[in-house]
């Protein structure tokens, strides 16, 4: 770099001269040109489902912006005050400063209600988009090597998002948020040995105490966001290192990435998409009310109204509590064992643990140590897709159970009937979903095979010279066919003795897991089959 920008300046306009001088200034102090060279033309493949993660990221940015605005007005204190703001029905009522300041944000600060609603809607969208993003990654097998660690980080983000949501929901100290905390308190108390003390320490004394809001506040606006931001940072870094997966398409292989470069197309698309997400959230927030705390009133441990609902992402846990059959509590050795709380906690814990470790389980079963960069079509991994469908069903039943009372009143059913149905569904639903999904996947694979070999049914019927009627099949061109034939195929593991001539238990377990996964496999169409089918058709 011997030329300075001023030397070739005459040929440039003033704007260009300024830009290059500024770029030079920064580069000479930061070496930024290296990063631009590395990243500027990185390729991002395109598919609508790849936007789900982006929605999550952008709604988080919206949450940060709106949340910061709220912190300027919100008072995280449970000091009792008499409300003197502009909302007439609650004038003079005793409530915590947190609740009073939430009312002030809503009724005495221009745009305050808008920002509260932006914050809350963005939070709902944030958790929803993370969930859908996770499902996309799962059903396309995008968690396979080398992306297992990023799956774990994403999983942690999902849990943290729910924690952020719950702590935020508790801040206004209204009737619903207090009741939510009451349930948490009851659950914590049910944990064996340490429960009573955890609750006591958490609430700074007996429930509800005067500390919980300010404690949750520091988690909500500092600790959890800091961890989330760090986790998102690592998530993005690994995304850059691993590069994005892509769906099979002509010209795309496991060894390339095909799509748009960051500069300019992807940057414009993604940057624009951020504004769209922000805009849509603002539109929803300006037209639909959410969490109208003034309707609920301040927290009071005595009243409660029926049919109130937590934010959607807490529903599955609430449902799990509801589905415990009567009588699950006992006394052993003089201590109280609340299995009506322990059981849901353990079951949800196991469910979540399976989600977190699924990539490692599958990798162990297949023994496949290669890198995978082509996203599977769900049908081409029938057992995985079926397991996913079973998991989604399990979650969905728990989630529906959280509205058992609404379902009962809305459809005029007995609450007992709804609960019993949900209990049965919780056990049989996933099993049915598993088998159905697997059948459907295998059916679709067979159809793909058919089409790859013999083409589409064109709907055109012709009569052959000897009188037979046949439907004309439209052959695929090689580009269309590629998507149908390019996928990885596994066969069940054969048990083989190890070096000492023994068959270990681990081997046996792995072999039966492998059989369960891969025994009904449909192999991809081979070149020879295509040639043969051509010969058959002329």
């Amino acid at each position: 770099m011997t030329t300075t920008p001023t030397q070739d300046a005459p040929s440039k306009t003033r704007g260009q001269r300024f830009t290059s001088a500024a770029a030079n200034y920064i580069d000479e102090r930061t070496s930024i040109s290296g990063a631009v060279k590395e990243l500027g033309r990185k390729i991002f493949p395109d598919h609508w489902s790849f936007m789900l993660g982006e929605v999550a990221l952008y709604s988080f940015v919206v949450i940060l912006l709106s949340g910061t605005f709220l912190t300027f007005f919100f008072q995280a204190s449970m000091v009792e005050v008499h409300y003197e703001g502009s909302y007439a029905p609650l004038k003079g009522i005793e409530m915590s400063a947190a609740m009073a300041s939430t009312l002030d944000i809503s009724f005495d600060i221009r745009g305050g209600l808008l920002m509260r609603q932006v914050h809350h809607w963005a939070a709902l969208l944030f958790v929803a988009s993370i969930g859908l993003h996770m499902l996309r990654v799962y059903f396309t097998g995008a968690y396979r090597k080398p992306r297992e660690i990023n799956w774990l980080i994403g999983f942690v983000l999902f849990i943290l998002a729910m924690a952020e949501g719950f702590t935020g929901y508790s801040l206004p100290d209204d009737l619903l948020s207090g009741n939510g905390l009451r349930i948490i308190d009851g659950m914590v108390k049910g944990i064996p040995v340490i429960g009573t003390w955890i609750s006591y320490l958490l609430f700074g004394g007996e429930f509800p105490g005067v500390d919980i809001v300010s404690r949750l506040y520091i988690l909500h606006i500092m600790l959890l966001p800091a961890i989330i931001i760090a986790a998102i940072g690592v998530h993005m870094l690994l995304l850059i290192i691993n590069k994005h997966t892509q769906f099979a398409a002509p010209g795309r292989t496991n060894n390339n990435v095909v799509g748009s470069p960051i500069m300019p197309v992807f940057a414009a698309k993604a940057g624009g998409f951020f504004f769209i997400v922000f805009g849509v959230i603002t539109l929803i927030a300006s037209t639909f009310s959410i969490n109208p705390v003034w309707v609920y009133g301040p927290y009071d441990p005595s009243p409660v109204s029926a049919g109130t609902q937590p934010d959607w992402y807490i529903g599955f846990a609430d449902g799990a509590l509801r589905l415990v059959p009567p009588g699950w509590e006992t006394e052993w050795f003089g201590f109280t064992w609340s299995f009506n709380i322990i059981a849901p906690l353990v079951i949800l814990g196991l469910f979540i643990a399976i989600v977190a470790f699924y990539p490692f389980i599958e990798a162990w079963v297949t023994g496949d140590k290669r890198e995978h960069h082509i996203a599977d079509r769900p049908r081409n991994a029938p057992t995985r897709t079926a397991i996913g469908a079973a998991g989604v069903t399990f979650y969905a039943v728990l989630w529906a159970a959280a509205s058992s009372d609404l379902i009962a009143t809305h459809f005029k059913l007995s609450i007992e009937g709804v609960i019993h149905s949900c209990q049965a569904l919780l056990i049989f639903g996933p099993i049915i979903a598993f088998f159905l999904t697997k059948r459907v996947c295998i059916g679709l694979q067979k159809k793909d095979r058919e089409i790859a070999l013999h083409g589409y049914e064109s709907g055109r019927i012709v009569r052959l010279p000897h009188g037979e009627y046949i439907e004309v099949h439209e052959q695929l061109d090689e580009y269309e066919r590629w998507k149908l034939v390019n996928f990885t195929d596994y066969k069940p593991l054969m048990i083989r003795p190890n070096a000492e001539g023994k068959i270990t238990t681990g081997q046996r377990v792995r072999a039966s897991a492998s059989r369960w996964f891969f025994e009904d496999r449909i192999a991809p169409v081979s070149q020879k089959e295509i040639e043969q089918s051509k010969d058959g058709h002329h």
Binding site: R41, K189, G272, P303
Partner: protein, 358 residues
Amino acid sequence: MADDHGDTAGSMAAGKDVAQHSATAHDAGTAVVATDEVPNPGFPPYRPRVTDLDPKVDQQQERRVSALFFVSIIGSVLAVAAYIAFPIEPGNMESVRNNTLYLGLGITLGLLGIGIGAVHWSKSLMEGHDLVEQRHGTRGSEETRAKAIEIFTLGDKESGFGRRTLLRNTLIGALVVSPLPAIVLFRDLAPAEDPVKLLKHTFWEPGMRLTRDPSGTPIKASDLTLGSAFQVIPEGINDSEHRIEEKAKAAVLLVRLKPEDLEISEGRENWSYDGIVAYSKICTHVGCPVALYEQQTHHLLCPCHQSQFDIKREAAVIFGPAKRPLPQLPIAVDSEGYLIAQSDFTEPIGPSFWERKL
């Protein structure tokens, strides 16, 4: 880096043959490594967009995008105008709604204009060819890995970390023990008292009057008609120092049934007064207020997880996840006819906890 496959001769390098080779061959496990795979046909020819072919359309699209950006400017300005034009008038809900709506719509326009404009620009006017970038295995090259190992070996040799086992083990021990103070530090998150003692008592004391929630006016036995239910708090709780904490334990539901409808167990014969019974309102599941009383069946329903308690049978659980009946508050009537508590509850109220029976 990325090269445009459209005009690079090497675009067929994207095909299968090259794809199979990577620096290190990894075990494919139980994957079927096909020998007779359909070959990758390579990229289909690029189909130009209308904007690539027709400069008029190109110009039209350019105007459209800039119009969107212009709309955005107008939206942002309108938002500022709405901030001023739609102030909040104290006590006027309509003004709050208008403020939220028009301010929000202005901001929405400001954001969507930029967003839709930028996406449209990228789709219709920016270079539309897909580009190709090669992947390289994620693991470092053999050379890099060898270097990394060398650095670790050197570090180990120069520090003696692996060799001086005493030193290493005591260091690990010290690191493990060092967070201990942090755990202890959190003890004072809660006061010094033992929570178990606190959980076993409520505000109720012998002779304390039952009063209405929230007004605190005392209740006469004659105030209760058959089938009626009262939400009750102890007298004086509203002036207590820990009003909410006390109320969270002491809230009671009072109902009157026909005395003959009550099934009374041994030892509780004089806990009720002429068919009037008082039960803790705090659910024995996880502590929601059991506030819903069904007059016909005399069932109490907890709105949180639908546990149901039968008042006729001393609030026994008849459905739902709760296990224990709601604790009963022994009541009586004082000389003026007001309902009073005979004592505190005789067992801890509310959700179960580990030391409940101790």
